[in-house]
Subunit: 341 residues, 2 copies
């Protein structure tokens, strides 16, 4: 369905950090929006948010919210997605869902457009946007896997608080002010203060000892890359950074590697910016990545502890490439290929 | 030489963060100090620092500073250690050096008392205190290596700014205030702002692409553990934490592992506190570790991506176990074994 006048797009969770970023990205990329609907819980409804030179009122999400909608961008948590994405589908919309609700459903494509755009073809009305830390990881892994075939991956993450949402950003800033003023910081959102601190705890822990975040990274990477047996392990940590996830990535390859070739291939890959001249202080950092669209890669070096080993450092804005941008890129992919329903 | 009245101890670099901590640790542990000499650059000389209920004046470091000194604790940078530790040795003192100057000298023992106390026996008047990030790492590795023999280790660090010194702590706090007040942060100590940011850059970069910090961790771990061929790689990152280094450690063992046994052996190891009940939010964090003496270990779980793989999380106060405490423990080891000269 190509719509000459553009598409009716709904953002569900419009007042959240990712919802806001979705609105910004749609506008920046001039996505052909004919009509924009902003949806949120009744608590947030009634507010007016800017859309170009107009204001759009946020409306309460109800099951009738999807009448006439072509594309629904969801970022309001798993519960909302589970409840409402089927309603959107029944109303004829394609849902692009930023929650974890549908990601591992075998009938739902899990897509990073630079990595597995073909997976979009088979969608049945719901497409899952991967976890923020997974998106930037597969952006880095894919070009290198195509070169030398991955054997094993070991990741440690340094994840920003905006991944949790606006309350977590507020808590970081509030705790920071408290500590600077010698007041005891109060932790509501996280189990421990995050200001001037960090912890290996993102999402809830499973019996295996892994956090759900770590399990998501492992499972989603395998699904996106079509490598169900990929040997991969992860440790996910929250750090006192507002926006921008960083990842220390160690990869063992099947075939002989070449650093110059890795740099060339990564630099030539769409969506990737190579920042790899450490002697001139050039490497990715979250503060520099925040507010931008690239996945930044640097610190490429041989890991001499294993044959064909490579260490690298990957940073991206978790709200943009890690969430809103990737979702809008999925929508663009659907429109370009005429894969809306 | 057992001295009934105690020992004449000099702290070189007495006004630095580690020098201050050395003074505190000597006192807390009731190290038998007969006389305390505090030495620093001429810039810091003249200040009086507390020692029990007395004040001790900081004197300028000169080559004659070691007359009659039994133990000299150095923490004033590699240049000072290279210049003055030989003078201290010639004057009959044993130097315990916190800089990197002597660590890889084959004639100088590099010691973590819980790990390789026997190496103290052969000292020739200079003993090196390992790098902060190395000390807590080998504290965790040794008991596990003794159980199952390590095959390969992959580490990513999350290192606090107090490892750099007082100016870096001030810079973090100043930049934090600037960012909270919407002022542009100014970076003098580091190449990039560290407040609400982080970077994979500690110490200078070598042609291999590794930072000196990463190389130190690799080389010092091999030396301390007596495993010159140990397969080990590291990524070292600086994070906006004041005190307390964290490490994500991935280990592959030769023999079959058992999580319950690992927990038991670690919990029973001197100097280690096991904090490993993630479902009740129990795991090591730097804010909780700061100001304490233990090496904290948690998040133990099988790495299913490799045979006999284990992930864990290690945190310690980089100024205490990572520097001052370990140095004083070395001094205690010398005294206990009558290994002073």
């Amino acid at each position: 369905m190509k719509a000459a006048g553009g598409y009716k797009v709904a953002i569900v969770g419009a007042t959240g950090l990712v919802g806001e970023e979705m609105r910004a990205v749609l506008q920046e990329r001039r996505f052909p929006v004919r009509e924009l609907k902003l949806r949120a819980s009744s608590r947030a409804a009634g507010r007016a948010l800017s859309w170009g030179d107009r204001q759009v009122e946020v409306e309460t999400l109800i099951s009738d919210s999807f009448t006439g909608v072509d594309i629904a961008l969801f970022s309001a948590g798993s519960g909302v997605s589970l409840d409402y994405a089927p309603a959107a589908r029944d109303a004829g919309a394609v849902s692009i869902d930023n929650s974890s609700a549908w990601r591992m459903d075998p009938d739902v494509p899990l897509v990073v457009p630079e990595v597995n755009p073909g997976a979009l073809a088979d969608h049945g009305g719901i497409i899952a946007n991967p976890n923020c830390s997974t998106i930037q990881l597969v952006m880095a892994l894919k070009p290198l896997h195509d070169l030398w075939k991955m054997k094993r991956v070991v990741i440690s993450t340094y994840q920003a608080v905006s991944g949790t949402g606006r309350e977590a950003v507020d808590e970081l800033l509030e705790q920071t002010r408290d500590i600077l003023a010698d007041r005891a910081p109060r932790a509501d959102i996280y189990a421990h203060p995050i200001a001037f601190n960090l912890f290996p705890h993102i999402d809830v822990f499973q019996d295996s000892g892994y956090s759900k975040e770590e399990i998501k990274m492992i499972a989603e990477t395998r699904k996106i890359m079509g490598l169900p047996q990929l040997r991969i392990t992860a440790t996910a940590a929250r750090v006192p950074v507002v926006t921008g996830h960083s990842e220390s990535v160690n990869i063992e390859f099947e075939r002989e590697i070449d650093l110059a070739q890795a740099r060339q291939v990564l630099a030539d890959s769409p969506g990737i910016t190579l920042l790899d001249d450490p002697k001139t202080d050039s490497y990715p950092t979250p503060l520099a990545a925040a507010g931008t669209d690239s996945t930044y890669i640097g610190r490429l070096r041989r890991d001499e502890s294993v044959e064909n080993g490579l260490n690298l450092w990957v940073v991206a804005d978790n709200l943009r490439k890690g969430a809103a941008l990737n979702a809008v890129q999925i929508a663009e992919g659907l429109v370009d290929r005429d894969w809306l329903r």
